[in-house]
Every structure is written in structure tokens, then in C-alpha cells.
């Protein structure tokens, strides 16, 4: 096999974020309507590697994924060693808007998965005018804690091993072996306490049940795609959001789990392409 480069280009961006200097890793590929992708809790932008390698998608879209601070190749801010990382709705929203501004993205499509799927519900509710369309993957309004989160960050349990083992069943059982374990590897590589800190947003701070019905899809279209094997954000929870938001379009993806773009990219892209086509068809109408 001869060596080859993928179309993905990664760079480090230095910017002021949440009032502090940050060094963030940003990857992108393609040209066209910007598609900003948000990774899941405790992982990083590599989850979108297949989208950034998909010829049809990058022919029409500038696909961008940043690693959140503390994740992947992005650093935590100076002083992190004396802090407990805990993500909040307000920080997460501000971070996304500030990164969009730094990247000079004008009305991108934003697509987020899991915690990313939750925050896009906050974004479409609070800042619909900033986005061309919103795609929520594994998006629900709330998830009750179902295990003791302290196990994710304590010295007598290996953080990487337990984070991957916790989420392993969230990958659909028929996902290709290579992509399943690539997805879990990202979890094994997370920094101490980072997955747990993300879940503070997911399970405690980011509850949007009482406000989700106020989302106005006439101001920004909302698409929801959820895998049927996800027991963290279940298909029922996604359908509950769809039922309470007029105009939201929801599809349950057969055979897929909580990490569709990473665990089984081929199957996922089959569901994503019609959504991107519809967004592109309706462009300019709003």
C-alpha cells in the first residue's frame, strides 16, 4: 500500500475563549457551505474523520471540527492543574459562538452529537439567527444519571479503561470492528476527569426539558438523527423532542448507536446526505 494523505488539514488556533487564552486544535476539509461539527463528551474531533474524507460532502461543504478545550489535541487553559473541569451550558454556548467568530463562519450548519446534540438544542433556541440549520445527533432534552459518575475519575479505577468500557455498549452491535475500536480508543485517550466534567453538562446543568418546546424551527430548521441502540439518549427521548418542537424532523437510524458518525460512518452518511440535500434545497428561502 502506497502512502497517501487525507484531505483533512489540522491547525492550532490561539484565541481568547471564555476570558482566557486558549490553544485549540481545529481540523477541516472541503469547500462550500460551512458545516461545524461538535464531538461527544470525553472524545474529540476525530469522530468526524469519515465526513472529512467523503468526496460528495467535502465537494459541497467546508467541514470543520475543533477539539474542545481539555480534549484531543487542544490544551486545557493555563492554571488547569488546580481546577476541576466542569462544563456548563453557558460556557459551552459561549465557546461555540466565540470559535465561530474566530473562524469567521457566517451562518454555518452546526451538527453536534450527544453533549453536542444537547447544546445544539440550546443554540437553536437561543441563537437561531446565527445558524443556517441545526443537526442534532443523539439529541435529547435530558438524561438522568444511571451510574455513579465518580467512577470516571478516581485513582483506583483507570480512567481511560473505564470511560471506554462505560460507553462500549453505546456503539451499535453491528458496527464495523475497526470503527468501533477507533471510537473507543478516543475515549481511552481522554484526560483525567474530562469525560466526567462533560457529563456535568449532559446530566445536570444542560437539562432543557422545560424550554425545548419554545424552539422555533421557522427561524432555523432542526433535524434530529438518533441511533436505535443508544441507551444514553434513547430513540424515545429524541422522538419526545421532535414531538414537542413543531417542524423538527427526526429519524431513528437502524442498527446505529450513540456515535453514528464514528462507529459506522458509511451507514450514518446514508442518513446524513438527504438531510444536507434538504438544507441546501431550502437555502435562501428563510
Amino acid at each position: 500500500m502506497s502512502a497517501s494523505f487525507e484531505p483533512i488539514v489540522g491547525r492550532y488556533m490561539n484565541l481568547q475563549l471564555l476570558g482566557r487564552p486558549h490553544r485549540l486544535y481545529v481540523e477541516e476539509a472541503g469547500q462550500g457551505a460551512p458545516l461545524l461539527c461538535l464531538h461527544t463528551a470525553g472524545s474529540d474531533g476525530r469522530q468526524y474523520r469519515a465526513l472529512m474524507n467523503h468526496k460528495d460532502i467535502i465537494a459541497r461543504h467546508r467541514v470543520i471540527a475543533f477539539d474542545m478545550p481539555w480534549h484531543g489535541k487542544s490544551s486545557p487553559p493555563a492554571g488547569w492543574h488546580d481546577e476541576e473541569y466542569q462544563l456548563t451550558s453557558q460556557q459551552y454556548t459561549t465557546m461555540i459562538l466565540e470559535i465561530m467568530q474566530a473562524l469567521e463562519l457566517d451562518k454555518p450548519i452546526v451538527m453536534g452529537c450527544s453533549i453536542g446534540g444537547r447544546i445544539v438544542l440550546h443554540l437553536v433556541l437561543e441563537h437561531p439567527e446565527r445558524f443556517r440549520a441545526i443537526i442534532g445527533l443523539q439529541a435529547g432534552a435530558h438524561v438522568d444519571p444511571y451510574y455513579d459518575l465518580n467512577f470516571l475519575h478516581r485513582p483506583d479505577v483507570h480512567g481511560g479503561e473505564v470511560c471506554a468500557a462505560i460507553v462500549s455498549g453505546l456503539v451499535g452491535p453491528k458496527a464495523p470492528v475497526k470503527e468501533r475500536w477507533e471510537t473507543l480508543w478516543h475515549y481511552m485517550q481522554g484526560g483525567p476527569g474530562v469525560f466526567k466534567g462533560d457529563l456535568h453538562f449532559y446530566k445536570i446543568d444542560g437539562d432543557i426539558r422545560e424550554r425545548v418546546a419554545q424552539i422555533d424551527t421557522s427561524r432555523c430548521p432542526l433535524f434530529l438523527l438518533s441511533g436505535e441502540y443508544d441507551y444514553s439518549c434513547t430513540p424515545e427521548e429524541t422522538m419526545a423532542v421532535a414531538a414537542s418542537v413543531k417542524g423538527a424532523q427526526a429519524t431513528i437510524m437502524k442498527g446505529l448507536g450513540h456515535f453514528p458518525m464514528s462507529e459506522d460512518p458509511q451507514a450514518f452518511i446514508g442518513y446524513l446526505l438527504p438531510v444536507l440535500e434538504e438544507i441546501s434545497r431550502t437555502a435562501g428561502k428563510g
Binding site: F151, D156, V157, I166, G169, L170, Y229, Y231
Partner: protein, 121 residues
């Protein structure tokens, strides 16, 4: 059927290697039937059926018989396909010293999945 755990786990060299720092005794409750499973350095050394008078164990996993039956199908349905899915649905109760369970979660998930229909020893 539960007795097959010993042969099936011990035949998987990769699984035993991952469990090489694990020695414990845990209780598996399948409906009203209890089993004590002893693990020594990643190998299942004994599987003993109850009832027990004074069982000692580090942690217990308890679920109704029909929930385990669904979990052990060759191709389980969503929600029955993973121990954490059963816990999320509140049908599997994990109790005791769960540090042992969580520190070796991949080991326990993969070991108990060995009892699925169609899994070779």
C-alpha cells in the same frame, strides 16, 4: 448454562490476560437463582449454584430471569444488549463494592456476554 462461564472465559486468552490483576468473588442473581463466581487472576476458578447460607462476595449483579434471557440471546434487542443498558433501564441492580466491577468493567461485560447463544467455548 451459567456453569459454562468457566470454560468459555478461560478459553479466551485475551480476556484472561486483561483480567490478570483481578481476583474476586461475585454474586450473579438470575431471577431467584444465585450463583457465586470466583475469579483468580482473570481465570474463572469456580461457578457455584446457591442457595447459600452465608455467601461472601465483593459485588452482586441481580436481574430478573427474563432480562438475563434477553441479554443472552445471540442478537439481543436494543436495551438488552449491554450490562449498562440494563442498569440504565433499572432492571439490573449492581451493589456491593462496585470499585471491583467498574475497574474491570470491560472484563465483566465481555465475560458475561460469553454466555450468549452461539458463543463458542
Amino acid at each position: 448454562m451459567i456453569e459454562q462461564l468457566k470454560e468459555r472465559v478461560n478459553a479466551d486468552a485475551g480476556l484472561v490476560r486483561r483480567g490478570r490483576f483481578l481476583s474476586t468473588n461475585f454474586l450473579l442473581e438470575v431471577g431467584s437463582t444465585q450463583w457465586l463466581i470466583n475469579i483468580v487472576e482473570g481465570q474463572v476458578s469456580s461457578v457455584t449454584q446457591g442457595p447459600f447460607v452465608m455467601p461472601s462476595w465483593s459485588f452482586a449483579l441481580r436481574a430478573p430471569q427474563e432480562e438475563w434471557a434477553r441479554f443472552w440471546q445471540a442478537d439481543p434487542q436494543p436495551g438488552s444488549h449491554d450490562l449498562m443498558a440494563l442498569i440504565k433501564r433499572r432492571v439490573l441492580k449492581a451493589e456491593g463494592n462496585l470499585q471491583v466491577f467498574m475497574a474491570n468493567l470491560r472484563y465483566f461485560k465481555e465475560s458475561l456476554a460469553k454466555l450468549r447463544a452461539g458463543v463458542a467455548a
